[in-house]
């Protein structure tokens, strides 16, 4: 019934020839995304699980999942680029750890689009080892003073606010003495510097803090107890990915299969065998996603399970884009057309053009898959230690 409502909404508001946001040019994508977010909001499809008093829909994870699935199926976003940080991650975290006052202040502003959030976690010397972070915040009478540097801040250039993991007690142990601070970006003490990726996109940023400030009460959860808050926050990133990535990657497979057929490459048994393996694996991925979603809806913690999912899909993506390069041969290395339009991560957006240059671009972008959001090496440690019970390395 809810699913029917979502489908009706999508059917009503999308043009008949809609193939997915990936078919639009980057500028048109931005515009569409903004309008579409407003439309989702006014139809009560944004922040499904937030209580109504903060502007949410007051529904449960099942409804949230249904929206994610249906939007994915037709190839529209479920909100703005930064909503993953504002709604999914920070919003859910505030609802669990924040004060009533914080929720009342921040949540409606996120929905209204007044506050646009980004994440300040990684640092140049704290990548895989996040707890090695060195950005420091010192409390004075009425504010925190923050000094340090963050990196890999996605869409930081589009944001107005940043949640910053900072060391607030340098004398405490590595995982203690950390706090999660909420901070406005538009101030003299903060500089956001875009970082070009290897395909030339500007998606990540460096954020420099030089005596930057935020209010004393802009701490989420306990002061010096931010590590647990941050781990919780990262957990909210996962549910949707496991639910939708299988579908998105299967669409990528289908596009590649079409391309191989068009170019007569299905007749090459060696390439066909590799395509068949890619298909097998993406079907495995879809099943793993379904299973994790079932567990998630059943209230199971899918922390380490999501590591398994991440490891699986990142390897699938690299294998499949490498296969695309081999299917295309020199067409992929000499193609000079445009690549993927706008932000298409980690899967290409529905509607993306099916050309050699798009696949070449996708191949290059896929290099990040085994690095970002916990490298494959870290994921293997997590799985080995939490799911198999193997001992940690001695340190």
């Amino acid at each position: 019934m809810f699913r029917d409502r979502v489908r009706a909404f999508l059917g009503e508001h999308l043009p008949a020839d809609w193939t997915g946001i990936g078919a639009l040019l980057p500028a048109a994508q931005d515009q569409f995304r903004e309008e579409w977010r407003a439309l989702m909001h006014s139809n009560g499809l944004l922040a499904l699980t937030w209580p109504t008093q903060y502007g949410g829909a007051g529904l449960g994870p099942l409804e949230q999942l249904i929206v994610a699935e249906e939007c994915t199926a037709v190839g529209v976003p479920q909100g703005g680029l930064n909503d993953n940080f504002g709604i999914q991650m920070l919003g859910s975290t505030l609802l669990r750890w924040g004060t009533e006052e914080q929720c009342r202040h921040y949540l409606p502003r996120i929905l209204a689009g007044d506050d646009v959030w980004c994440q300040g976690f990684s640092e140049p010397d704290a990548g895989s080892d996040l707890a090695g972070l060195r950005t420091r915040a010192v409390a004075s009478d009425d504010h925190w003073t923050i000094n340090g540097q963050k990196i890999w801040t996605s869409y930081g250039h589009l944001a107005t606010h940043i949640f910053v993991l900072s060391r607030t007690d340098p004398s405490a142990g590595k995982h203690s003495g950390i706090s999660l601070l909420l901070c406005e970006l538009d101030q003299p003490g903060i500089e956001v510097r875009p970082l070009k990726t290897l395909t030339g996109e500007e998606e990540f940023n460096e954020v420099f803090f030089t005596d930057a400030r935020c209010p004393l009460d802009a701490v989420v959860g306990p002061v010096n107890g931010g590590w647990a808050v941050a781990m919780d926050l990262l957990g909210y990133e996962r549910g949707e990915a496991v639910a939708t990535l299988g579908t998105r990657f299967r669409r990528d497979f289908d596009r590649l299969h079409d391309l191989a057929a068009e170019r007569g490459q299905l007749a090459d048994p060696v390439l066909a065998e590799r395509l068949a393996y890619s298909l097998q694996r993406v079907e495995e991925l879809r099943c793993l996603g379904r299973q994790a979603v079932d567990g998630w809806l059943g209230g199971r913690d899918i922390g380490a399970e999501s590591s398994l999912h991440k490891l699986f899909w990142s390897e699938w993506l690299q294998m499949t884009t490498e296969l695309a390069m081999d299917i295309l041969g020199s067409a992929a290395t000499t193609a000079s057309g445009t690549g993927l339009q706008g932000v298409s991560f980690p899967a290409a957006e529905a509607g993306s053009a099916n050309t050699p240059s798009v696949w070449a671009d996708y191949f290059l972008r896929a290099r990040a898959a085994t690095i970002y959001a916990g490298s494959s090496e870290i994921q293997r440690n997590i799985i080995g230690e939490r799911l198999l019970g193997l001992p940690k390395e001695p340190r």
């Binding site: 289908d254 066909a272 097998q280 809806l297 090496e377 440690n381 080995g384 198999l388 019970g389 193997l390």
Partner: protein, 377 residues
Amino acid sequence: MSSSGRHHDEEHRQLQQTLRLVLAPSTSASRQLAAVDQCAPTDAELWTRLSTEVDVLGVATPVELGGTGAPLSFLGVVLTELGRALYSGPYFSTVVLAGQALLASGDQVAQQDLLPRIVQGKLTASLAGLALGTDGLMAAQGVRATRGPDGWQLDGRAEDVWDGCEADLLVVLAAADDGTMCFAVDRDAQGQVRTATGGMDLTRSSAQIDFAGAPARPLGAFDAGQRVLDRLRVLVPTCLAAELVGIAEHCVDVAVRYALQREQFGRQIGSFQAVKHQLVNAYMDNEAAKCVTSYALRELAMSSSEAVSMSHVAKAAASDAAYKSAGTMIQTLGGIGYTWEHPAHLYLRRAVAGRVAFGSPSAHRRALLAGAVRSGG
């Protein structure tokens, strides 16, 4: 997609635990090796316990034929546990190959005669004449059926008949003038020579059967042969996948346990990333194989259109997973895993044989891709 409920999770777990208790004695290394070294016949006591105590011989048989009428997912649980225990009795041949062939044949008389006896553990059976063709599993061309004055009789050779020497009853797919037909052949029928064949897998017996005018009872109507084939070509790979998942999981379990216990350089070897990450890679593939196999069984139970493609995914994934896990286990065990005394090689052998049986991963992938082409992407 999503959420088709609890999928009997709790009942599955109970069945699993019961089976582990019953199978525990036969899982011990010394028992497994003794069985191989002495070429022990089927463990009759265990067979009885499986039929009476745990009542799993009828897990995929309707209630009216003496079975439990449980969904196919329960059969999957049983097969996985038998795989883990490297069970060497004729369960797969009797319950999956012959039992499901009988069910698919639509021959109610034969069903009512034979299936209750199978469920009660009083009749073992197997299937001859299912082989891999270019387009998936098909009727092997080695056995021909002709109608003589005294009824139907079979001639020719069937290869790789699991538990073929011991089976009380053989269901045989044979080529007749009008196409594939399905027959029942009794153990004491004349005109058949059953020869045990050896090979890679030391824990599953197999036979070559030569028919020379063996009297055979046809099963079902004129289209029964095709119906049996249609059913088994999807069901058998899926069920074998469930068994292979058990092999795979057991191998990783053994390796993890060893990695926790064995110390070198003053550390448990499982703390070394070189060991840990290999185990994780195997475990990841096992989780995926388990997941697609149980999904394939659900789709099959619902006669879903995805059942065929998922049977290919499941057999390919579980075959690769078992093969890789067995290799990883031996690598983790080091020298001890290379000895005859450690049952590791028995698992490797079963994995290697099961990988090829009823279609290699490559063959199933090819069929999967062909299906994707036919269904238009």
